[in-house]
Subunit: 281 residues, 2 copies
């Protein structure tokens, strides 16, 4: 009889998801976290940090496309992009699809995540291939952010606000993001599950609204995150991500020759139509 | 040490969700299926048919609101509604919120599901309270549908296309739905997970397009269905659910005094902005 090994991720004792896995390809502890990579049966390879699924090869496109392209198509011509976290490379990969980008800077606190992705997650780490447009900084974003030249786009592709990412959800960090942006820059960040982390989403939104003129939560479907729906937030002082016209978004997508599997101009606007219980958070 | 009992639902060997449960409140086999009700720790009571989660008290509003209100607000004045399946009562409950409804008919093949809901799932079975506007028919919808007087709305709130619900996904059944509708009637049905049952959704869409002029898939977030996102489809010969204006939907919602937790006119249209990989199914 073939015996399956199951990876289990538990959500505050209420709910668990499990995926059948092969032997661990990676199972190591860095200075910051426990890093694992497994081969799964239905989702390709899966990156796990401190026991939480970060991404699988099968469904990471939904999250990474929406985190990158909503703010980047809101911006008329993004030339400089910083990705905070995102050591797997998926967000940088999406950012670099925009031909106007001259310089993308990945600020990832944990160099071991980057090494692991380069060795084991090649479809995501495609974004990490050395090149003149990419700089990789392996330091704490909260320390580095103040020293950056002003950027067009900042994507905060963090893990959840526990452990090394807790500081990335503070009002202080949001103010430092603004200081690191050009006046017409746009940011996006992940804020959690609207079903399970409503309080956390509401807190992030409230803090962002103290800092940015336009703060727009939006939703993305991703089966391997608890609850299957995740809230991202885009924010800017100059460009309202929700006030974009379909025509403008279509024109920008075409000019930038983006061929995508999740994002479309219709989805950009549709994802901001928040269910009533999310709107009220 | 407190030991938890976990209910597990497995999806084709790729993925599993588990919820901690108390002792079964219901655990019986009807002529059609295995019926269970459990108290969960985080989701209230949960109805399980043949091992699959049908609804929990905490998140059923998302699915039931979207199944009912998208077609019913697409219709200018729904007076007659048939719900196929839906023995838990949630869909009828939502349908009866529309004051124009004179008659709602629930056609549920399994009387034991209705009995169980009335005893154990009162928030959903609120829709099943006897009254002059409700008729309950415990027969096979495929047999009954031909004998109905023409309806304004038909909601197919079925289980998945295995076992007793398989016939509800055939071209023949879709043609019988059309025959049971007024010329300007609107239907909606559940079609499955866009991540896991793409082939099934594509097949249902193709068959519906042979029968109805307007066929509009749309998505709803529901954490306890595998993958967390579900595809519903609305269809009609007279009213295009996607061509509604926000103003008209708002006006209808207000006239009907609908106070909802998921559906809004914005969500109605936004839910039809399908991610590229779903649009291409």
């Amino acid at each position: 009889m073939a015996v399956k090994t199951w990876f289990c991720e538990e959500l505050t004792g209420q709910w668990r998801q499990s995926l059948p896995i092969g032997p661990a390809l990676v199972d190591e502890r860095s200075d910051f976290q426990h890093i694992q990579v497994f081969e799964t049966e239905g989702f390709g390879r899966m990156l796990v940090l401190d026991g939480k699924v970060q991404c699988t090869e099968r469904d990471e496109f939904t999250y990474h496309e929406m985190l990158a392209h909503v703010p980047m198509l809101t911006h008329p011509k993004p030339e400089t992009v910083v990705v905070v976290g995102g050591g797997d490379g998926g967000s940088v990969r999406e950012a670099l699809r925009h031909p106007s980008v001259r310089k993308a800077t990945l600020v990832e606190i944990d160099p071991q995540v980057i090494e692991v992705a380069r060795q084991w997650l090649p479809t995501m780490a495609a974004g990490l291939e050395p090149g003149p447009r990419l700089e990789v900084v392996t330091r704490d974003a909260a320390e580095v952010i103040g020293s950056l030249t002003p950027q067009d786009i900042i994507l905060v592709d963090s893990s959840d606000p526990e452990g090394p990412s807790e500081v990335l959800f503070s009002g202080e960090f949001f103010r430092s993001l603004k200081a690191a942006l050009k006046p017409d820059g746009v940011i996006a960040l992940q804020a959690g599950s609207p079903f399970f982390f409503g309080t956390q989403i509401a807190a992030a939104r409230r803090e962002l609204e103290k800092v940015f003129r336009y703060v727009r939560p939006y939703l993305v479907a991703i089966p391997t995150y608890p609850g299957g729906t995740w809230c991202l937030i885009a924010a800017s002082d100059a460009h309202d991500p929700q006030a974009m016209s379909l025509e403008e978004l279509r024109s920008r997508r075409q000019q930038r020759a983006l061929e995508l599997r999740y994002y479309s101009p219709e989805v950009h606007l549709g994802s901001m139509a928040l269910p009533e219980f999310v709107r009220e958070l």
